[in-house]
């Protein structure tokens, strides 16, 4: 049975289920409990994660399985990778995906390549949970959405959920998956509420979800931008245009078929993503459809993305940086060839 909980509670629930089922699942990261080594916090937490996502887990599972790490991303991400290939199933939290810069080697050259380099004899069941996303007024080094970089690395799986239920189902699958998975959590979604099944709930990787069906235009949204797409779809519907909103949910593997089938039906495609545009997932999906679904198209594909700039701090600029309903509507208008009223 489902009940309404937040995105962040759904993520915590997936970890709790995985840890209860399997003693090899451990959590590690900066302040995942907080207060490591403090006498009066031996069985309690100071923070439970910088935004409280891992709250309560140290009380339930103890400090042996919920490890506060020093601020040493290369050290502990590398340790998580190797602990995975030697018998544990770690969930390591990299607080912000922007910090990937200081530990990328341990994923890019180590974890992602072990299985191939070592001739298929090794499994590396590690999950890296990390926050992404602009809109938090957190500026250039705490707001990026870097999943395209990881999607381009063979050996890594990449998940970007948009709803509480998806977050829970996909995270439990990710933790139980035998390959390294990078799990991106949009920090502006943590308070989003939604119905989430209780107990063990899993969603396979590589299965897109149709968040709305329609026959006139396909909008593929990534992460939080699924919600922007849904807002636009509601508005279009009032004007007689039915948009289909596709949420890929995992970028590697990517559900090519669902995207292609939707474009076959609607003949128009907009991709909405807040990563930078060059070599991005938006362009990747555009290329997929151009390559395999060109005959379905009645209009050029449109990518509504962030510009090729860092994330700005000033609220007015940051709002401008993100894809907006206005930008999507104007693209839709152009494709449909009719003037639509603005939101």
């Amino acid at each position: 049975m489902g009940r309404t909980i937040s995105f962040s509670e759904a993520i915590r629930e997936a970890m709790e289920v995985a840890m209860s089922k399997n003693p090899d699942v451990i959590l590690m990261g900066e302040d995942v409990a907080g207060g490591g080594g403090v006498d009066h916090l031996q069985d309690d937490e100071a923070w439970g994660g910088v935004l409280g996502v891992t709250k309560g887990l140290v009380k339930k599972f103890g400090r042996k399985r919920v490890l506060d790490t020093p601020i040493s991303e290369a050290g502990y991400i590398g340790a998580a990778v190797s602990a995975a290939s030697t018998g544990l199933r770690p969930v390591a939290e990299l607080m912000f995906n922007d910090f990937m810069g200081v530990c990328f080697d341990q994923l890019l050259n180590q974890g992602a390549k072990f299985r191939y380099m070592f001739g298929g004899k090794v499994k590396t069941p590690v999950t890296i949970r990390t926050m992404h996303g602009a809109g938090f007024r957190a500026a250039a080094q705490h707001s990026q959405s870097l999943y395209p970089m990881f999607t381009s690395v063979p050996g890594l799986k990449v998940v970007v959920p948009s709803t509480p239920a998806d977050a829970k189902g996909l995270l439990l699958t990710a933790i139980e998956d035998d390959d390294p998975v990078i799990f991106f959590e949009d920090k502006t979604l943590y308070n989003l509420k939604g119905e989430v099944p209780e107990g063990e709930y899993r969603i396979p990787l590589g299965q897109a979800d149709m968040k709305r069906t329609g026959s006139d235009i396909t909008i593929v949204g990534i992460g939080k931008q699924v919600h922007t797409a849904l807002k636009v779809a509601d508005h279009l519907s009032k004007q007689g245009v039915e948009a289909e909103v596709v949420d890929p949910r995992s970028l590697s593997p990517l559900d090519n078929q669902t995207i292609l089938q939707s474009v076959e039906k609607t003949s128009r495609l907009i991709i909405v993503d807040e990563s930078n545009p060059r070599c991005s997932i938006a362009r990747d999906i555009a290329a997929l459809v151009a390559d395999q679904g060109f005959d379905y198209l009645d209009a050029p594909i449109k990518c509504i993305t962030a510009p090729h700039t860092p994330v700005p701090f000033s609220p007015t600029l940051e709002d401008l940086y993100l894809p907006s309903t206005e930008k999507i509507l104007s693209a839709a208008e152009e494709m449909i060839g009719e003037t639509l009223t603005t939101v």
Binding site: P70, Y76, A83, G119
Partner: protein
């Protein structure tokens, strides 16, 4: 007459002969690779361990298949000391399907997890956090497995050195960090690249024991490693052992080594690690020259067989290009 203490300190016969065999295997294997590489039969590039045998062997003498090691780009010696199969290694270096990694890894990525060999590593310092990970597994699962983490003097200036040693120290992880200081990081001398006199001095910063040993003396390495491994098994945490050693050949094969003086090369050659160990074994009465000659002949044949095995093995089939990327992945998963 030897004192009781001296007798206790001397290496047992079985162990001594094992060490000798491994050192000779490494030397003969590497010299063969050198020759084969020079004639163009080995693809890519190779970094040879010849000259540093005492380090890998002196440390691995204390490890079992259940213990772990992490290694470096100069990893053949570590593999051999950790009992990786010579045939599988040679075939891997040749890029053949029968290689330990099906020919998909090559010289810099030989691994054999069944032997606890967690992989040679093409990234300088890349193995240090990984050693913390295997040690963490042992700690969480409450086994008595130890991880030996080999790295060169170049890695001691990488950020992962600091992060890994600090992590191992605060978590009291069962790791023995083994710095192989051969005096050069690629073509740059240690004294130029490092602010410290000894890598082992840096142990103080992590509040762990740091010891300098003569890395060309297998007996010295053996004793230092014994203490460090026992310490790790007792749950007392990591140790940093710096082995001062010498790379007989260049950074990679083809390196003209203009940065080494002629005198340096000649004087070091006289201090050959294997000759020195032979001297020890015969002086101590642990082995006779005849025993050692027999082992050398056996190893000679093993290496010849390994070469023959590699040369007669097929290259990987075409479908191997796209297998082993993931444990599971939908066939239509994004252009794969």
């Amino acid at each position: 007459m030897k004192s009781v203490e001296e007798k206790q300190n001397s290496i047992q016969q079985e162990q001594g002969l094992w060490m000798f065999r491994k050192m000779v295997q490494i030397r003969k294997f590497e010299d063969a690779v050198r020759e084969i590489f020079a004639r163009g039969d080995i693809p890519g590039f190779v970094h040879l361990y010849a000259g540093e045998e005492a380090v890998a062997v002196g440390v691995c003498a204390h490890l079992t298949d259940q213990d772990f090691i992490t290694s470096t780009h100069r990893g053949h010696g570590h593999c051999i000391a950790k009992e990786c199969d010579l045939k599988g290694m040679m075939a891997e270096i040749y890029g053949r399907a029968t290689g330990l990694c099906k020919g998909k890894g090559g010289s810099m990525h030989i691994a054999d997890f069944e032997k606890g060999m967690l992989g040679a590593n093409g990234i300088v310092g890349g193995g240090i956090p990984l050693a913390c990970g295997s040690a963490l597994t042992a700690k969480v699962k409450e086994t008595d497995q130890v991880t030996a983490c080999f790295f060169g003097d170049g890695a001691n200036n990488e950020g992962t050195f600091h992060e890994g040693l600090n992590l191992a120290a605060i978590w009291n992880l069962p790791v023995v960090f083994v710095a192989e200081n051969n005096g050069y990081g690629e073509a740059t001398p240690f004294h130029y690249a490092s602010s410290c006199t000894h890598i082992a001095d840096r142990a103080q910063a992590y509040n762990i024991p740091g010891v300098v040993v003569d890395g060309r003396d297998a007996v010295a390495v053996y004793h230092a490693a014994k203490e460090a491994v026992e310490r790790a098994k007792r749950g007392e945490g990591p140790t940093l052992i710096e082995c001062k050693t010498f790379r007989n050949y260049g950074h990679f094969e083809g390196d003209t080594q203009t940065y080494k003086t002629k005198e340096e090369r000649e004087s070091q050659a006289e201090k050959d690690v294997i000759q020195r160990f032979i001297q020890y074994l015969t002086d101590e009465g642990i082995a006779s020259k005849k025993d050692l000659d027999r082992i050398e002949n056996e190893v000679e044949r093993e290496v010849e067989e390994a070469i023959r095995f590699a040369e007669e093995s097929p290259f990987p089939s075409e479908n191997e290009l796209t297998t082993d990327v993931y444990v599971s992945y939908p066939t239509d998963g994004g252009g794969a």
